[in-house]
Symmetry: C2
Subunit: 347 residues, 2 copies
Amino acid sequence: MLYGDNAYFAIGQQSVLVPVPVFVRGSASIVGSKEGKGPMGELFDVVSEDDYIGCDSWEAAESCLQRQAVSMTLEKTSMTPKEIRYLFAGDLLSQSMASSFGLQDFNIPLFGVYGACSTCGESLTLGTMAVCGGFAGNVMCVISSHFASAEKEFRYPLSYGNQRPLSAAWTVTGSAAFILSSEKTDNDLALVTSFTTGKIVDYGLKDSFNMGCCMAPAAADTIFRNLKDFQRHPCDYDKIITGDLGKVGKTVLLDLLNEKGLDITEQYMDCGMEIYDPNTQDCHAGGSGCGCAAVVLSAYVLKQLASGNWHRVLFVPTGALLSKTSYNEGNTVPGIAHAIVLERINR
Amino acid sequence: MLYGDNAYFAIGQQSVLVPVPVFVRGSASIVGSKEGKGPMGELFDVVSEDDYIGCDSWEAAESCLQRQAVSMTLEKTSMTPKEIRYLFAGDLLSQSMASSFGLQDFNIPLFGVYGACSTCGESLTLGTMAVCGGFAGNVMCVISSHFASAEKEFRYPLSYGNQRPLSAAWTVTGSAAFILSSEKTDNDLALVTSFTTGKIVDYGLKDSFNMGCCMAPAAADTIFRNLKDFQRHPCDYDKIITGDLGKVGKTVLLDLLNEKGLDITEQYMDCGMEIYDPNTQDCHAGGSGCGCAAVVLSAYVLKQLASGNWHRVLFVPTGALLSKTSYNEGNTVPGIAHAIVLERINR
């Protein structure tokens, strides 16, 4: 059995060991009002009190979030759009419209990516390949989601006032951008050292209001694969961080890994469970959306690595592959999860 | 001004010279009944007389097209799914549903990409980076579109029987898959030698029934950039091939390049203008959809390179970045075009 073993940097079945350091040079995050009131509120670069971000549609607001995340990241790193060779961008809207209308002014060659809420992991993986392979000096990854545009896209427009079951998650309004670079500077936040790319995993679940359960098998698969491919134990990571499984998905994930003889309870963290206060913010299962993992990575995880509190984390954004049409046609909700390993820079 | 110039293989503003050969090891195409009756009908691997491909929805039919394209490509190259390190897949449906439900059985790590009808160029570019960078031995790119699922997604369900203006294009029902490999074999079809990644270009046009016009400025931009970055002339290519500009977009493209002092009339070919017979097939401006460029590349262009008829081509799939929502909200239709250079293998 071959697993692409003629590739220099391929490890095991699904992983890659990054041979040349790729630096996370900088990042910025912007979130909506609800996220600003959550436990991480003070960590985000900007909290917008107006969830329309000054625009006249939810879609335009989401585009504006992406634009501001990119601009702030350039500003924080004192870089110009001309220094960014490629953008890797994605969101949850049909035909990735938040990216298409958010990023054109920067005039940077664009790769549109789609991995549902795993998009942050996918874009950082592809960006790492571009930099590490010598095809780009600097690239930027940008990801967004918006509660109101997502409700309209996947469920009911807000004005319908529909009820949501307790297993439902709350789509995060927010965007984060990240610059990956081949060049070391004094202010780099972390290193990307390896990645494990996920497969579609479908356990046949059909409840689009319980996406945590639908995505948990994919997260389990990717985490298991990462540990096997690198012959690591959970304790080799300070944290194993999923994107937005929420409290229902978390239980399923821990159970599935237990069945494989892995206990990650001690290292486990889920961005969706950290971003809102479950006691005061009525967010049901937790936060979700591809912006969820992205803004928590930007505002919290990278800072823990940059300050040296954490040494190495496995960051695993998780996506539920569904659309309004697939749901209405009675299809299942397959999941996918893309993992990247981020490490502290030794100074 | 820096243009990512610390990247080893970056050329000029937007291009990359592939430093290690990437071989197109094999490819297969499947199309619907209308495409089978067109001028290229005999070149496709499979023509399905049933546009539902035996399924009970248009979306499931499109997923089935992708599945068959992948299976046939594996069969033609005597490869197994385990030998393919990554899939790069995309389509036109909301949240890329054709890929999500078409590819899970292969159990291959997946990168979902979205570039509207430029997706074929985008996936081949990212696949080339993965192989050339040493992250994968073999990858597969797969792209699809379906006339009926696209009409439902972007315009009106077929049963409405709406009329279409003469500037409208006909979305190609079809899928093609391509294996890119670092390893040379006796039956490789062509080499990927460089690429030029496009930016979003928006001339402010809003007519979603005239996508050729909306995409032409992006095609002009990418073709111009490719020629400048490599200091080439149009005659350095046997063909300069756009995806689906159609006859209206063609005129705009040639005019725009003429304004920049470039005449590509002699080399120019558009996949959308070749796939149907304009006299007998009532296709208006021509074929479109991300399947259009993909199946013409698979069935025609690669064969011309493999047989030695052509030496070097610039393949430029073109995408119109719109959604039903962006259209209904009165937005423009920005374009994007991703070019790859394919060359004959000297034996």
